[in-house]
């Protein structure tokens, strides 16, 4: 009986893991003309779900260095040139401020639900 109970818990856990992974999305945010852009439009805020990933892709002919010092998610993607991209997965709900260290005019809020 106890074994069956543990099996069920494990099974449900696995299902939930796969379900979450299956519904997690990846958003591609371009760095273009020294701004954050989604589908070709400048954005200063984006709302995503916990577990979603943002791919930061540099489309400018110079380096960018995307980072966040927010409590929710602290990261420093380092400098990368045009054509390269790096990803960040936001695991928890909350708000993170994302900037470019080199070009501080580039600022975006990521709301994670």
């Amino acid at each position: 009986m106890k074994q069956k109970y543990l099996f069920n818990i494990l099974f449900i856990g696995l299902i939930m893991t796969f379900t979450t992974a299956a519904f997690s999305e990846e958003f591609v945010i371009d760095q273009s003309s020294k701004s954050f852009q989604l589908n070709g439009k400048k954005i200063e805020a984006i709302t995503i779900k916990a577990g979603d990933t943002i791919r930061f892709k540099n489309e400018d002919p110079f380096f960018h260095n995307i980072f966040s010092l927010s409590d929710l998610k602290t990261f420093d993607l380092g400098s990368f040139p045009k054509g390269q991209s790096k990803t960040v997965t936001f695991d928890k709900a909350g708000m993170a401020e994302v900037e470019c260290a080199i070009h501080p005019e580039m600022y975006m809020e990521v709301s994670v639900q």
Partner: protein
Amino acid sequence: MDIKSPSSKFSQKILLAICLSLMGTPVLAADLSHYLRPSEIPQPDNNRMTPARIELGKMLFFDPRLSGSNWISCATCHNPGLGWSDGLPTAIGHGQKILRRSTPTILNTAYQPLQLWDGRARSLEKQALGPIEDEGEMAQHLHKSNDRSHGLIDELKVLKGYRDAFEAAYPGEGITKKTIAKALSSFERTIVSTDAAFDRWIKGDKKAMSKSALRGFKLFEGKANCAKCHSNFNFTDNGFHNIGLEDATDAGRYAIRKVKILIGAFKTPTLRDIALTAPYMHNGAYTTLEEVIEHYNVGGISKENISPNIKKLNLSNSEKSDLVVFLKSLTGKPNPITYPMLPVE
């Protein structure tokens, strides 16, 4: 001041496109409209420029009583006769103390979103009081304190000339930290570059730039990699870069934002009126433009945490010379400035 309407800017762009197509020089193939002067001087909604505000700001800017010693004004370091800088490697502050950074020109500072070498002030209004209160710079107290029987605001309030000027500029707001900062900012926003040879050239004056300057511009945008950071009308990306100077003691922008790339990084300065603002770099390391070009030609001196934009250029002597000629084409004839009469009662 040069404030134009959006339609005027559109016409300028059309004119520029026509000129570029007619001139047919290889360097003109690209759209250069991003080098045109913006149609308006940026200014915040809560501090629009008016003649009264500009005039008050000018009085404050030139008044040495803004310093604790009553001897240093804003214009002591930001000298209009020296490209709104001081001609020194690094600034000299209160008590003749030599400071660690050079005095940046305040020319075109209205176009910059962040102020100071490390960008720690997010507006002119937020920057204006910093040097006044800094013990190393002007060492003034705005209010009375334990060791001062009165502060700057008290000193200004006893002068009818200032009381009237503040009332004309900011009716009903009085003489406060906020109105002092606003007035200084209003004046500083009027300190803008005039059209240089380069501006006349992009507007269609074929003779404005020499062949050497044109070759320099082509290098500036291409092989020499300058335009990666010195971009747009004000020849700055308003960004922060470690350019490989020998200066391990100053953390630069890293003190404000703890991100590795910013260790030793400083704001890209404008190149407008560059011939008037030597010495160059945040620590005044170089006295000539030739030295600056050589610094970049060898790919910087210190490689520690250097910006990935900096690389060896392998420029020939004639290419270096052309670049210097081009840089000098960014210097215009400064607007004349008259010294204000300061209130004495």
